[in-house]
Symmetry: C2
Subunit: 188 residues, 2 copies
């Protein structure tokens, strides 16, 4: 089949949905962020790409910390709201039950099945966004979301995003074991 | 419910699965990468975090380019193989039908429903990995994967990864409209 060039503003399919937490002028704020990825193995480092015009960068810079929270499907409406409205316009600090970890300045969301507490290591400035690189200093979950001590995506029930059609999707059925099912193709 | 600290080596749920293509000493090579994200709006920039010991970084540096290909579920076994075996050990250039875009040095995979051609802009060195930031200069798909000119995840049928349980998952049902369903929560 013939390939067509669909232009340059293309995306990954799908993207994880997170809520980035920060303390801006002392007030907890949460922003929906899907441009986020692990970027380093050891120590564990995350990167979150955020438009410089947003409210959140101020809080990250002020406290040199932030959190990355994975919401479950039940929090989809609140998560979407956090992506629609700036903390400059509306107070989002009362949307969730908030807790803190060892950094004391990275607000995390009690209702989220997994919360990653990050210490800012580096900011990579880019044309419209900045990439905030943070070392994960703690990850908080609950026994009910774990299987064999590891987060279980079926129990967490997160959701994902596609752009530019701007839709959320559930995670589906298991498809295979990673670093395993490709062994059949090894040569020799 | 009480939160438990599960340690620092935590991940996002779920992560997109991609194949990063590069030309290493003139030979096309593909590596499975899930630590990848858009990082800038305009111009469109992607980041891919790759362990420095891998074969791929050599190719990216040599040609100042790479590709990010989104495999469909049908390619899961080949994708997993590309994450298991280094291009130093086995020739992966014959696994897929390969094509090139305008850069001529970023091999892309004909069988993948979406291929992003990237020009290297910057390398951010990190302790174990490097983050390769590339501007998307072309995105290649096929009419059969598009709806209203945009990639349609239901037609593309990609899959996602969870770590550290190392499992692949299908994408599930639609869950809602982004930047829309949260409007109900707006105050005033």
């Amino acid at each position: 089949m013939k390939k067509v060039n669909i232009g340059t503003n293309a995306f990954l399919y799908p993207m994880p949905v997170t809520l980035v937490g920060s303390l801006v002028e002392g007030r907890p704020n949460f922003m929906a962020v899907a441009w986020v990825s692990r970027v380093n193995s050891m120590p564990p480092i995350l990167g979150a790409a955020i438009n410089q015009r947003h409210h959140t960068p101020q809080g990250i810079q002020e406290n040199q910390s932030f959190s990355v929270n994975i919401p479950s499907l039940e929090l989809m409406e609140k998560t979407d709201y956090c992506g629609l409205v700036s903390g400059r316009e509306q107070d989002k600090s009362d949307l969730f039950e908030i807790f803190y970890g060892e950094l004391k300045t990275a607000p995390m969301i009690q209702e989220c099945p997994l919360c990653l507490e990050c210490k800012l290591l580096q900011v990579v400035p880019l044309p419209t966004n900045s990439l905030y690189l943070g070392e994960i200093v703690g990850a908080y979950s609950e026994e009910r979301y774990l299987t064999d001590g590891k987060p279980d995506i079926r129990k967490m029930n997160p959701f994902v995003l596609t752009m530019p059609d701007n839709r959320y999707w559930k995670v589906g059925d298991p498809a295979g074991s990673a670093w395993t099912i490709g062994k059949n193709l090894k040569k020799g």
